[in-house]
């Protein structure tokens, strides 16, 4: 859901950017470690007993409590060397609706044992600069956490935008939208004014993308997130600029957002700006690894 936070967590433990990690949403697990491990938690700030945004050396026999999110909604727990879970269709990710991937195609539960792929990778800690008490004196920046709400999301006009009536078009941009409780990794439902189309009749099913905002007949917009379906039959009013989607992923139900128009040129600038901040953070981490 937040690939930026995932990249940073992996970099902090010396992994490839897209190595599989645990996605922790709002309430974190308690973990017992049977081997010396090097871990990092990035994304939302959690109030448990591991530091946020720093690598942490965890000796065999320790227990960690991730705690509850106090800012943001999702964090990624990476382990040096990665998890020893068999890839399915080229990925270690879990696809819960289909019941495949990850650990037995389901969310993790109490009692699950996760094998580590490379037990020796915890020794990476020895090459880190400015260490203290099993962690470090520096941290990675939280690039996707909201500093204020409603979170501003730039959107590109969707194919069916013009088919909505004038009042709905205005309401889409004027309203403060609240993420509903019936939201998940497939899509976030937004509570706010109902959006109505000028013309009736169904549209032909078409392709969707991450960040597509679709509006079914009941007028309640749904923003498609990481597990979204590839095609859909609901009108598409807008698509969120790709650079802004990770910030939306840091909201839990109750969080609020606000849409602003953008064109492809601005979307490109937003990508480049975010890309530069991510590169700078990764360079900083690499430097602390002596690279």
């Amino acid at each position: 859901m937040d690939p930026i936070a995932l990249s940073l967590a992996n970099a902090l433990v010396g992994n490839a950017r897209d190595e599989a990690a645990l996605e922790v949403t709002v309430i974190g697990p308690q973990l017992a470690f049977d081997e010396d491990t090097l871990v990092a938690l990035c994304g939302a700030e959690f109030d448990g007993n591991l530091p946020n945004n720093r690598p942490l050396r965890v000796p065999a026999g320790s227990q960690l409590n991730v705690g509850h999110a106090v800012r943001g909604a999702r964090a990624y727990l990476a382990v040096a060397g990665g998890f020893g879970v068999e890839p399915v269709l080229g990925s270690r990710s879990t696809f819960i609706p289909g019941g495949f991937g990850g650990l037995q195609g389901r969310a993790l539960r109490h009692g699950d044992v996760l094998p580590l792929r490379d037990g020796l990778a915890s020794a990476r800690f020895d090459s880190l600069k400015k260490t203290r008490d099993g962690s470090v004196r520096w941290s990675a920046p939280p690039l996707t956490l909201p500093d204020r709400e409603p979170v501003l999301l730039h959107v590109i006009e969707g194919q069916h935008y013009r088919g909505f009536d004038a009042a709905s078009q205005r309401a889409f941009y004027d309203a403060v939208w609240r993420i509903s409780p019936d939201s998940n990794r497939m899509g976030f439902r937004l509570a706010g004014p109902p959006l109505a189309r000028e013309e009736s009749g169904e549209i032909l099913s078409g392709p969707t993308c991450l960040g597509t905002v679709q509006v079914p007949a009941n007028g309640v917009p749904i923003v498609l997130m990481a597990d979204h379906q590839t095609t859909g039959g609901y009108p598409r009013i807008a698509e969120i600029a790709s650079a802004d989607v990770p910030r939306l992923a840091q909201l839990a139900p109750g969080g609020t957002v606000h849409f602003a128009r953008c064109d492809l040129g601005l979307a490109a600038e937003l990508r480049h700006h975010l890309g530069e901040r991510v590169s700078a953070a990764l360079r900083g981490i690499a430097w602390n690894y002596g690279q």
Binding site: F95, P97, Q159, L204, P207, T230, E239, A268
Partner: protein
């Protein structure tokens, strides 16, 4: 097909994809050509292209908009690629599609909506099953879920709308109908179509060499099997 096959419009789909639209309505000829076009685009293996998704009336190109290969204009790069592939394509050439045979058990315990469909269409339950199995179907699109095939060619006599409220859980392999199409649910999920039977075949298996039983463009035929045979086949 004498008509010239050309995109009607190119719509941005966010900043990392484009929708190349050929038809706003369901047109089986257009859909068939689309599948071949999508295969050609995919085969070109452009380094900036992440995915090609054929839908009912057009196809989506998902790309890396910052890749040097798009020369700063991903919509134009997409349009150019499609235009080049269209030149390669002979719309009049008939390709023999693969045929997938699907056994279906239409027995009441696998067909929770068949009574309602029979009532609405003023047919007997047996006639509903017969008409469904007699059809010659084409896979128009894979969408909604991995391996979920939208199939056109449902007999007009069986046209019923989607259920007013979707079921929380539809069984894996459930065969369902709505309007002019039929689908087979790849795994247990919520679904709003009218369930009239079930197949013992594994519609989607992530561990299989070809995970999806169906591919867009396939021809599909259903045939009725007894509950006994259904249980044997499912294992």
């Amino acid at each position: 097909m004498a008509r010239v096959f050309r995109p009607k419009a190119i719509h941005p789909l966010g900043d990392c994809a484009a929708y190349i639209e050929f038809s706003e309505e369901l047109d089986l000829e257009v859909n068939a050509v689309l599948q071949r076009l999508a295969n050609l685009v995919h085969a070109r293996a452009q380094p900036w292209l992440r995915d090609v998704v054929p839908a009912l009336g057009g196809l989506a190109l998902h790309f890396d908009p910052d890749h040097p290969g798009v020369h700063g204009d991903s919509l134009q790069a997409s349009a150019n690629l499609v235009a080049e592939c269209l030149k390669q394509l002979d719309p009049a050439a008939e390709e023999a599609p693969r045929t997938v045979e699907v056994p279906v058990c239409y027995a009441p315990e696998f067909a929770p909506d068949i009574d309602e469909v029979a009532k609405k269409t003023q047919l007997s339950v047996g006639e509903v099953a017969e008409l469904h199995a007699a059809g010659d179907y084409r896979v128009l699109m894979i969408g909604f879920a991995p391996g979920h095939a939208y199939m056109g060619g449902l007999d007009r006599k069986l046209a019923v709308p989607r259920r007013a409220a979707p079921r929380a859980v539809v069984a894996a392999g459930a065969v369902a109908i709505a309007n002019d199409q039929t689908v087979v649910y790849p795994y247990a999920i919520s679904g709003g179509w009218n369930v009239i039977g079930c197949t013992p075949l594994a519609v989607f298996d992530a561990g299989r060499e070809e995970p999806s039983l169906f591919a867009a463009g396939d021809r599909v035929r259903f045939h009725a099997v007894s509950k006994e045979d259904f249980l044997k086949m499912r294992g």
